[in-house]
């Protein structure tokens, strides 16, 4: 079918502010406030300290709001040399993936998936997104393992308790990460 006209519509989603060090980022939407850190990564304690400081500033300006969701999101990219993956399954490196009937294809090329659940050791909700992404390095393939661990119910009202609850997300995302990669991957990223 021929299309005479294409219209696009965009609207402002929010603000993204990047520090002069180019690694600390603040994201502000109408219903969320986030502190992010780009690589090279720092300790969890420092990430949380920065997030707390930013959130205190936010609260001073806009006042206290009812918090309905606390989340931590770690987006991991693995760069795998082409010669290490050629002829092998992605399962050699990650323990999450997709499968196809042999009658459909003998190989799986690029893929992406999203899965939700409850992390076993903490009960935290999660969204895992995994798949191939454009290679960051020459003669490599890149796989993304995007872990979003969160609480969206029974959020405490006291600020200290909120951050204590947030702390449990560290265990959740660590458990998900460690269980989703293989020893081959561990060896690769050491």
């Amino acid at each position: 079918m021929a299309v005479d006209r294409v219209e696009t519509n965009s609207e402002r989603a929010g603000f993204k502010m990047t520090a002069e060090n180019a690694i600390d980022v603040i994201l502000i939407n109408s219903d969320s406030f986030g502190s992010a850190r780009l690589a090279p990564y720092d300790r969890w304690e420092n990430l949380v300290a920065g997030a707390r400081s930013n959130f205190e500033t936010f609260t001073k300006v806009v006042g206290r709001k009812q918090i309905t969701r606390i989340a931590t999101r770690f987006i991991n990219r693995f760069d795998i040399p082409t010669e290490k993956i050629e002829g092998h399954s992605f399962a050699k490196f990650v323990r999450v993936g997709v499968s196809l009937p042999i009658a459909v294809s003998h190989v799986i090329g690029d893929y992406s998936l999203a899965v939700t659940g409850f992390e076993v050791s903490t009960g935290a909700k999660f969204l895992i997104q995994n798949g191939t992404v454009p290679p960051a390095l020459l003669d490599h393939i890149s796989i993304s393992l995007d872990i979003d661990a969160y609480w969206d119910s029974e959020i405490p009202t006291r600020i200290e308790e909120i951050w204590e609850k947030a702390e449990t997300l560290r265990d959740a995302k660590n458990a998900i990460f460690e269980n989703c990669i293989t020893d081959e991957m561990r060896e690769l990223i050491q």
Binding site: A13, F15, T18, E20, S35, A36, Q66, R69, R73, L127
Partner: protein
């Protein structure tokens, strides 16, 4: 759930980018504006680690892009500089802290209001990323200086007493390069165009002093 697959997005949305010190000013001056924005999925590039406190129920996500706010030339330069530094974060695990600091110092030196005019083509981050890719691939971090071509491509030079090697990194997988080697018989000039991968072979031939033997 705050995230949705892009193909289900109803409309595109954008992030306004700004400088970090503007946080208080932004929140103080424009609280009403903040209520107008569509919630977005997440940081759209560069894979940040996010610690996210959401203050109201999530809504369906949208395609997210990034546009710069209308800004002064100085702010445009700053945003360009930051975009190159942020691109470096994609390779942070492959670069030493010293190399990262050296890159940042050189970028700070190259991109400044004294040396740039509004009509100049600013450095293209895809070109800079190709230089970073090449460095990681070749495992050679011995560059001497970094500049920018009229088209915004990244220019790199390696200077030694008996060698000058220069390269222009394009946004595609392409490098044009020149070499001048001091030999017993006088200077020898060579030029070439090749892929990033092959330039690793070419450059390392010169940088390992193979051409002077």
């Amino acid at each position: 759930m705050t995230l949705a697959a892009p193909q289900s997005a109803p409309a595109s949305a954008v992030f306004d980018a700004g400088r970090w010190p503007d946080l208080v000013e932004l929140l103080s001056r424009r609280p009403a504006d903040l209520m107008m924005y569509t919630p977005s999925a997440a940081p759209e590039t560069n894979q940040p680690r996010a610690f996210n406190v959401q203050v109201s129920p999530p809504k369906p996500a949208a395609l997210v892009g990034l546009i710069q706010q209308k800004s002064s030339f100085e702010e445009t330069l700053f945003n360009n500089l930051v975009s190159l530094k942020v691109a470096t974060s994609l390779y942070a695990m492959h670069l030493s802290a010293e190399e990262r600091a050296r890159l940042f110092a050189r970028l700070d030196s190259v991109i400044n209001t004294e040396d740039w005019h509004e009509d100049d083509s600013l450095p293209r981050s895809e070109s800079f990323v190709n230089f970073l890719k090449w460095m990681v691939y070749s495992n050679d971090f011995s560059w001497s200086s970094i500049g920018v071509s009229n088209e915004g491509n990244v220019l790199v030079a390696w200077s030694r007493p008996d060698l000058v090697l220069t390269a222009q990194f394009f946004v595609q997988n392409k490098v044009t390069w020149t070499s001048t080697v001091e030999t017993k018989e006088g200077p020898a000039h060579t030029v070439g165009t090749c892929s990033l991968q092959y330039f690793a072979t070419q450059a390392l031939f010169y940088l390992s002093r193979g051409a002077m033997r």
